[in-house]
Structure formats: C-alpha cells, structure tokens
C-alpha cells in the first residue's frame, strides 16, 4: 500500500467532503427552518461560480472576486425567495419539488444566455496556484488547503450560529412551526428570506471554490445537488451536525473508492474484470452506503428531534 | 367477568413533560369504561399508546392475555382494538361509504386482490351501508367525506370504528364539538352499543360520561387518581378537589 498516495487522497476526500458540506448545510438549513425542499439549490451553486468567474476577470483577483460575489449570490438567493420560493411555502413538498424544478430550467438557461454554453475556467493568483509538500512525496496543491481551511471556518461559524445566536435557537428548535416563531416576536418573512439568502451564499461559496479546479459550467449544479441530498439524508434532514459528518464520510468514500477500488478488486478478480467493475461500483458506492444506513436508520444518522 | 385489557405501569415522557405517569387501568370485557380528566391530563396520549400510534417509554399493555406493548398499530387492529380520533381522521377524498367499506374490508381480508372492482363486492358494500344506517348517515353514503358537516364527521368516525368489528373500541371524545341535540343522539347511540362492545371512552361532557359509564377512571397530569363506579367517583374527595368540583 502506498501510504503517501493514501494520504493525498484522504486530503482530497476531506476537501470534497467540506465542499459538499457547504452545499448540504444550506439545504438542510432551509429545510429545517422553512420546511422547504429546494431542488434549485444546485443552480445557485452554479450561479455563484459564474458570478465569481466573471468578477475574477473583471477585478483581476480571485479572492477579491469571491468577496464581492458572496453578497451578490446572497442577493440572487433573496430574489428567488422573494419571487418564487415564498409563494411555495404554503404548498406541499410535491409542489416545492416541481416548482423548483421549473426554477432550475430558468436559472440554468439564464446562465447559458449570460455566460454562453462553454464553461469558464478561473485563474488563481500565483501564491495560491502552487503546491505544498507536507512530507516526503506528499504534495498538495495550496488551493486545496485553502478550501479545507475555508470549509472548516464556515463549519465553525455555523456551530457558533446554531449554538449561540437567536437564529440558531430557532434552528435548534426545528422551528418550521410558524406560530412558535411568531410567538417569539420575530418577523417571519424577514427571517425566512435571511435564512434562504444565507443558504444560497454557502452554496455559492462552494461553487466559487470549486471553479478554479474544474470550471464554472452549466451542468455543475445538477451533479452536486443529488450528492448533497444523499449527504443530508444520511446525516438526518435538518441536522447540521449530521450534514457535517455525512459530508466528510461521503467525500472520503467517493474519493477513496475512485482511487483505490480497482486495486482492491484486483486482489479477488482478474485485472480486466476489475477495470470494468471498479468504476461502476465506485460510482454507486455512496448510494449503497445511503441504502445501508437507511435500512438500519430510516431517519438518518442524526434524526432531528420531534418536529 | 374477565379482564380484556390490562395496562400496567405505563409511562411516556415528551421532553420534560410526563404525559403518562405510571398508569394502571383494567378494562373488563363488555364494560363501558370512561376516562375523564382536565385538559392536558394526557388522555389522548394514553389512547395513542393503547392503539399503537405512540410507543410508551415503559410499562406493559396486555390485550386478551397477549402482550401488545410493542406491537405496531395494524397488528393491534387485527387483534381487535380500534380507535376513533378526537380530531376527525377520515379519508376526505373518498366517499362516505368507501371510508366505511375499507373498515369492513380490513377484517374481511383479500386486500391483495388486484383486479376485481371493490365497489362491486356486495357484502362489503352492504355491511358498510348497514353500519351507516346504524349511525344515521345512509343518505350521505355516496358523498365525499369532505362534504360532511362536523357532526356528521363524528358519526362517520364512529361508523368506521363499528364497521371494523373490533372487540374493543377506544373512543376519543366522540362528542367533541357537537351541539346539544347531536350530543343526545350520540349518547343514545352509544347506549345501544353497551354490552355488545367493550368501550374505553374519553369524554369531556360530564353528563354524557355519568349517563353512560359503568366505571370511570380519573386522569390528572398523567396519573390515574381514582377508579370506580360513577357514584363513587362523584363522592370521591380527591376527584372533587382536583377536578370535578369547586369551580
């Protein structure tokens, strides 16, 4: 076993997990408080990436672009809440799903109109574009370390938000219950819009952080949203802690599966068969994990308290 | 006189609230046993534990000599316990007759028959219609349940409980929200059921309870503070103090 490679892949897995957490935490936040299922969350992730890409070229600096793109993405989220989502809260989950499905078409096509069909690759500043050698042979791109630091920072921020603020008190109460929230003397409409915008910003941030590695592209939202769903299902819908743990587990399993499954399979089958089977199985691994966990715990690892 | 339902040491806690606090009840076959108690005493929670909708934290529920404490709701129904709901719980999109027919079908079986039209199975329809006649809803049989008035919903709830042919009925405030006249009809109807069915009745309407019950248990803050014949309950100092009286 090549431990250096294993180390590098574990770092990659953690980084993927933290990106997943950024997307999933927004989803679970919106669901926990608003009782709203947002399929278009992935499209907001995409919009964040595109806005940041454009700004990087305009401002000439990736980090500056992220700082400006964050509130802009929040604004997009706010607009979506104001004009579409708000009208859907009263309806059932089926309507949420269908309405936000329509929203995906609108957002993705708008991105197509504005930014064109090609993806945009985002250049990094020189000091971020390099690599760091952690120990002999273990070379990690500097930017991935930044992603990990950012992800951990946001996770820490959320812990603070959930445990030590008024907003967090509502989250912990699982306050999809309007009467309870208004009994606490809070303007519900503003609170909901705020939560939605916050969730959007986190998804957008994930999109911004991934764009220098892959690129900003139209299809990116549709891919991440399902994985984010798997994360919050496994973690328990509405649970922030669950989302974090599940995101890391799934990030690791997905990355390590893709990296090592073929050599693992070669131990028990022919090289040819392993080469065919490994990609297929590793592509399904997170879903198999989800199935196993749900078969044992239908409400996920950390089911929210009685709602 | 044999015991049909034996509840021992039942406990259920929600957060910090003891909704059911060491409850012991014995229901004798054929009796109408009423449970009374002030709002928030935990009456509905108790019924929900007996019907299987809520799992108790500890204690045991024995029905016909079988321990059903951890059985799911549908197996209890098969064994012969049915309930009505305090907040009307019907299948609103279906017709009144369909609602009752489903209850008849539940003990008739054959529910995995996939192709034969259910509405053409005469004995299901006839039995359902007969039950509707008993509660006086036969004229509304073909209307959707959603079209009925509140009072009629209460009657339909009872019809469904009846149609399931359960030996024991748990009735959760069948009189809730009824006008005086409707209440009288309901009381008279429940009287006709006495002796045929074993009934555990939760009710707020004191006149109804004292007119109907063979025995009464008083539930206050999750505890049974007294059980006895209506006269004994009326005379019980604790009950007068805690609940009945001195308003």
């Amino acid at each position: 076993m090549d431990y250096t490679l294993l180390f590098v892949q574990v770092i990659n897995g953690v980084q993927l997990g933290l990106l997943l957490f950024l997307v999933a935490s927004g989803l679970t936040l919106v669901f926990g408080i608003l009782d709203f299922v947002n399929l278009a969350h992935g499209s907001i992730y995409m919009i964040g990436a595109f806005i940041c890409a454009s700004l990087t070229f305009y401002l000439g600096n990736f980090l500056l672009a992220v700082l400006v793109a964050l509130p802009l993405t929040g604004l997009v989220g706010y607009a979506i809440e104001r004009f579409v989502a708000r009208k859907l809260y009263e309806k059932d989950h089926l309507d949420h799903v269908l309405g936000t499905f329509g929203l995906i078409l609108v957002l993705d096509t708008s991105a197509h109109l504005i930014w064109g069909p090609e993806g945009i690759s985002v250049p990094l500043p020189l000091w971020l574009d390099g690599q760091v050698e952690i120990f002999e042979g273990a070379v990690i791109p500097t930017f991935r370390l930044l992603i990990i630091a950012t992800g951990l920072g946001v996770a820490g921020g959320l812990v603070w938000l959930v445990n030590y603020t008024r907003l967090g008190m509502l989250i912990r109460a699982g306050a999809s219950n309007r009467t309870m929230v208004s009994a606490l003397g809070i303007d519900i409409k503003t609170l909901f819009a705020l939560v939605f915008a916050l969730g959007s910003m986190m998804a957008g941030l994930a999109g911004m952080l991934i764009s220098p590695i892959t690129e900003a592209s139209i299809g990116m939202g549709g891919q991440i949203i399902i994985t984010a769903f798997v994360v919050i299902i496994v973690g328990g819908i509405g649970s922030m802690k669950g989302a974090f743990i599940a995101a890391i587990i799934i990030g690791l399993i997905d990355t390590l599966g893709r990296a090592f499954l073929d050599s693992l399979f070669e131990l028990v089958m022919s090289e040819n068969a392993a080469e065919t089977a490994a990609p297929a199985v590793s592509a399904m691994m997170i879903y198999i994990l989800m199935a196993v966990i749900l078969a044992v715990r239908p409400q996920g690892l950390f089911p929210p308290k009685v709602r | 006189m044999s015991t049909l339902l034996q509840v021992s040491g039942l406990k259920k806690q929600f957060g910090g609230v003891k909704a059911t606090d060491d409850v012991n009840i014995e229901v004798i076959k054929g009796e109408l046993h009423a449970i009374i108690g002030p709002n928030g005493a935990g009456k509905t929670t108790l019924i929900s534990q007996l019907s299987g909708a809520v799992r108790p934290d500890s204690g045991s529920i024995i029905f016909k000599g079988r321990n059903i404490t951890n059985r799911p709701a549908h197996t209890r129904a098969k064994l012969g316990i049915t309930r009505s709901f305090q907040i009307t719980s019907l299948i609103m999109s279906m017709s009144v007759l369909d609602n009752v027919a489903l209850a008849v079908q539940a003990h008739d079986g054959h529910s995995f028959k996939l192709f034969k039209p259910a509405r053409k199975v005469t004995h299901l329809r006839e039995n359902a219609l007969k039950t509707l006649q008993q509660v006086g809803l036969e004229n509304r049989a073909d209307e959707p349940a959603s079209a009925l008035s509140h009072g009629e919903h209460r009657q339909l709830e009872l019809a469904i409980a009846l149609a399931s042919s359960a030996e024991m009925m748990l009735l959760d405030e069948p009189m809730a929200g009824l006008g005086p006249e409707e209440s009288t009809t309901m009381i008279n109807f429940l009287k006709t059921l006495k002796g045929q069915k074993t009934i555990l009745l939760i009710e707020h309407d004191m006149d109804a309870v004292f007119a109907l019950a063979d025995r009464i248990s008083v539930l206050v803050y999750g505890k049974i503070i007294a059980t006895g014949k209506p006269d004994e309950i009326r005379a019980n100092d604790d009950v007068r103090h805690a609940y009945l009286g001195e308003e």
């Binding site: 299922v37 399929l39 579409v84 859907l88 989950h93 089926l94 269908l98 309405g99 499905f101 329509g102 929203l103 995906i104 078409l105 609108v106 096509t109 109109l113 399902i226 769903f229 798997v230 299902i233 819908i237 065919t276 990609p279 592509a283 399904m284 879903y287 198999i288 199935a291 749900l294 239908p298 | 299987g52 909708a53 799911p72 709701a73 549908h74 129904a77 049915t82 709901f85 719980s89 019907l90 299948i91 609103m92 999109s93 279906m94 027919a101 489903l102 209850a103 079908q105 539940a106 054959h110 529910s111 995995f112 028959k113 996939l114 192709f115 039209p117 259910a118 199975v121 079209a147 469904i160």
Partner: protein
C-alpha cells in the same frame, strides 16, 4: 357518461386515428412525435399509479425506462458483437421479460428501503436511487458509458415488425391502452382502495389493521415493471440508448407530465405528456433558450393550476367544488 369519461375516450380516439393518417399522408415527423408521446405516456401512466393514486412522490422513475431500454440494447449488442452468450439475443419476448423483470427487481430493492421513510426523505431517496442507476450505466464503458449505445437490430417479435413505424406505433398504442386499463382496474380493486386510503390517511389505515408498507411496495413494484416495459418500447423506438435517459431531470419531466395533465385521473398522464412534448417541440423551434419560457411555465402551473388540465375540465363542468 360524465364529461371526464367523454374527454378520455375522445383523446384516445384522436391518438388512434390522427398519427397513422398523418404518416400515410407522408408526414413521418408527426408519427415520430406521436410514438414518443405514447411511449412516455405509458411511463407517466405507471408513475400515476403510485404518485397520483398512491401518494408516493417517486423522483426516480426514469431509471426504470433506462433499465428497460438497456434490456433491449445489451442483449442486442452481444448478439451482434459476441461475448456474454448467456444474454445475447434479438428475441423481443426475451427483452420484454428482462425489461420487466429487472425493473421489478430494482423497484423491489429500492422500494423496500425507500418506503421505510416518508415525505421529503422518500422524494430524495428515490431520486438518489435513480441517480445510482444513472451513474452505474455511465461508468459501464463496455456499453458506451457516457456516449451511449446504438441498437443495430430492433427486437424481433412474433407477428410484429418493429422496423415499421406504423407497427411500432400500433404496439405502443395498444400497450398504452392496456396500461391504462390495468391501472384503472388496480386502483378500483380492494388493493387499490387500500392504496388510495393510505394516500388519504395512512394513520387511519394502520388503525384499521392494514400494514400499509406492503401495499405501497407492491404498487411500487407494479409501477416500476410497467415503466420498464415503456423503456423496452423507447429503446426500440430511438435505437439509441444512453444513461441520459435515466438522469434525474428525466424523472422530473415524467412527474411533470403526470401533474400537468392531472394526477389520479385516467387520461391526465396522457394529456400531460402530449402537452409536454408538443410544448417542447414548438418552443425549441423558436429558440435554443426554450428552457427559459418552459421553466417559467412550469412554475406558473405549480403556483396557479390545481389538479392539472383534468382539474380545469372538472371545475368547468362543475364536478369539483
């Protein structure tokens, strides 16, 4: 007969007559459109059984269509290029058996897990399982992976030649009729009553003594098998299959067809798939950005139209209060 019944019969008559007439008068394009519509209609009818009548919001139904299509493509591929003799075959009946069998098995496995959950969990899990099937075929390089798989020879059936557009349409149309009748029989049977009752009030059904899980699971398996059969037809129609057929957005489209037309009605899914495919054709002929008005339209439908098109007819005829 009530207005809904009349509309249903009229709609099915139009589908029986118009496309063949158009084909005979040289308009092959419309025949293509109608064939696609009818095949997806079968998928929508099967989804309606669980979504409309059973209240199970399954967001992974396109997976069954894909499974059905690969049940044609993989045996045909091996019959042409060798290897894996066990399944190599052009026999259509064998393809159907594979399509229906594997779809039913997949439904049994995913349904058994998904149905332990409720509400949003169920929506997301069915979606995730659908994506699992998608990624599975995406990473199977043997069968083209991302690039898809071309079917060189269509399924061979007794008496019917699927290479003839007219006969393929005929088979699809008759299949649709049978699917509609089947669903209609099922939802009105004792089983169907339990299924609809569970949609209306699951707690009540449990209190009556029904173990609702098994009823829902059986309906889910029937629906999946039926949809797998639609996939068999679709594979033979397009002669090209790719994982894209199973993508979650395809499942979303299928759901929209059901809701757009009117869930838990016989004709609703057909109306919905017709409207969906026609809109798609018309809008996409104007602009490559047709998804934008299309998406807006979908949002408006969700916000303002209760019960879909059939709902509109019902309220016009005064059947709905």
């Amino acid at each position: 007969m009530n207005i809904i019944g009349k509309i249903t019969i009229a709609g099915m008559l139009i589908l029986a007559i118009v496309p063949p007439v158009l084909l005979l008068s040289g308009q092959a394009f419309y025949m293509d459109l109608a064939t696609r519509l009818v095949i997806l209609g079968i998928g929508a009818v099967s989804l309606n059984l669980i979504l409309g009548f059973g209240g199970m919001v399954s967001f992974g139904h396109a997976a069954f269509i894909g499974l059905g299509a690969y049940a044609v493509g993989i045996p045909a591929y091996h019959a042409t290029y060798g290897e894996f003799e066990m399944v190599a075959s052009y026999n259509g009946l064998f393809h159907i058996a594979l399509a229906v069998g594997f779809s039913a098995l997949f439904a049994l496995f995913t349904g058994a897990i998904s149905l332990r959950t409720k509400g949003v969990y169920f929506i997301m899990i069915t979606m995730a399982f659908g994506q699992m099937a998608y990624y599975f075929f995406l990473s199977l390089d043997v069968y083209g992976g991302d690039d898809g798989l071309t079917i060189d020879v269509r399924s061979e059936l007794p008496l019917i030649n699927l290479d003839s557009p007219m006969q393929l349409y005929g088979l699809s149309y008759v299949s649709l009729l049978i699917a509609m009748l089947l669903v209609n029989r099922i939802v009105n049977s004792r089983f169907g009553m339990v299924l609809q009752g569970t949609k209306g009030n699951a707690e009540r059904m449990a209190t009556l003594g029904y173990n609702t899980y098994y009823y829902q699971l059986l309906a889910y398996v029937i629906s999946g098998a039926m949809c797998g059969y639609a996939g068999f037809l679709l594979g033979n129609f397009t002669t090209f299959i790719s994982p894209d057929m199973m993508h979650w957005t395809r499942s979303g489209e299928l759901m929209f067809m059901v809701i757009l037309g009117g869930a838990s009605t016989a004709l609703g899914p057909i109306l919905g798939s017709s409207l969906f495919i026609l809109l798609e054709e018309i809008l996409s002929s104007f602009t490559i950005y047709w998804h934008l008005p299309f998406g807006l339209l979908l949002i408006l439908v969700v916000l303002f139209i209760r019960g879909g098109l059939m709902g509109l007819f019902k309220s016009k005829s005064g059947e709905l209060k």
